[in-house]
Symmetry: C2
Subunit: 226 residues, 2 copies
């Protein structure tokens, strides 16, 4: 390999993309955000939002940009998931995709398709349509990561808006682990983490006693427990 010429003259380069698996909790169920492809290949099929890396942008910047362009969402929690690069995963050319995991807080303004996405919609994770490329595999990996991080990090708090009740927090965990949790034990655990604090406010909602509101002590941060 010559040291004068860039490597690109001696070997063909693959394309690099990012794909983003955005989860949110809506209507008491875990949902995933998909876009309908406006261009071939897989035109008309549902897929993860994402797209090609610009030659002078960082990977995470690319993921955030593609997400904003195709779905209108921005400012979400975003973490790198895994890189998928099987030969033949894209019929056009060799494509290496750096997958990201993103979580949207409840109450997020609804999504709007943009750029080369013909549509953008939330799907219940247990009722996904057929997916383009190897996106089903990416989603499975993302879900494993999400559930795996539940009990040693505060990642699940990213599903909540700035202030929330302990009942809402518990509901998030119940949906994610798909099981009922004892209320007293959960509250004891959540408060012992020392990651949340009462705002002093309460929220009235329905014909019952109002709930105390809490916020993260360290907003914009996923911390690791133990």
């Amino acid at each position: 390999m010559s040291q004068a010429k860039p490597h690109c003259y001696t070997h063909p380069h693959p394309a690099v993309t990012t794909d983003i698996a955005v989860f949110a909790i809506r209507d008491d169920a875990l949902h995933l955000l998909l876009i309908r492809r406006g261009n071939p290949p897989f035109e008309g099929a549902w897929a993860l939002p994402g797209g090609f890396l610009d030659i002078d942008e960082d990977l995470e910047t690319c993921a955030a940009r593609e997400l904003a362009e195709e779905t209108g969402l921005s400012g979400l929690y975003l973490e790198q998931l895994c890189t998928f690069g099987a030969v033949g995963r894209d019929p056009r050319e060799r494509v290496i995709s750096v997958a990201y995991l993103a979580l949207a807080p409840a109450g997020e303004r609804s999504v709007q398709a943009g750029d080369d996405a013909a549509d953008a919609r939330w799907f219940r994770l247990d009722a996904l349509p057929a997916l383009a490329f190897d996106h089903a595999e990416i989603i499975a990996t993302a879900q494993r990561r999400l559930v795996g991080k539940l009990d040693y990090s505060t990642i699940a708090f990213q599903f909540l808006p700035e202030t929330f009740t302990l009942g809402e927090l518990q509901r998030v965990y119940e949906i994610l682990v798909d099981a009922e949790i004892d209320k007293r034990n959960f509250r004891k655990w959540a408060l012992a983490l020392e990651q949340i604090e009462a705002t002093g406010e309460t929220r009235r909602h329905g014909n019952h006693r109002p709930a105390r509101l809490y916020r993260l002590t360290d907003r914009e941060r996923v911390t690791y427990l133990k």
Copy 2:
């Protein structure tokens, strides 16, 4: 974006490489395998083994191939770590590097530099030389991953040869967590995992009672605990 022409005609592609952080335990200390670069940039500097992805090979295949070419090691435990793609991390051109974590069992035959590596050597992790590119950052990430997986997986068993004693296993853990561990508690824990079985053989080593040998029940597999 046209659907007829490949994307490579409309946008420049970055180069894609793999880099491999290979750990091993030698002389009662955690070591890392580095190569001395035989070509610019950073010619003569120490760096992780790794190199450019061939256009028709899978990512993990590339990592295994580069590792074998540059250091002579093959058949190691290999897992994808993280992808590094900061603009400017390589002075030649835009390079996206998919980093891998590898573990070499004790007693591994010694390494030999090959391909465009001028040298290949094990370094104590607490005495690394200056490193090329962003490899110091990759190594820090790899070490965090390794230590983080210790107590919910059997990843540390990959540091041992096919058969080993409980004392050797304990020593691996002590080096990795950099602390002494109670012998009785450790043995209770290790046997309760149901991941190892006695071979029935013993090993004489020094002027003391011989130790029972064990092997993994499920060789070639890192399992997740709890």
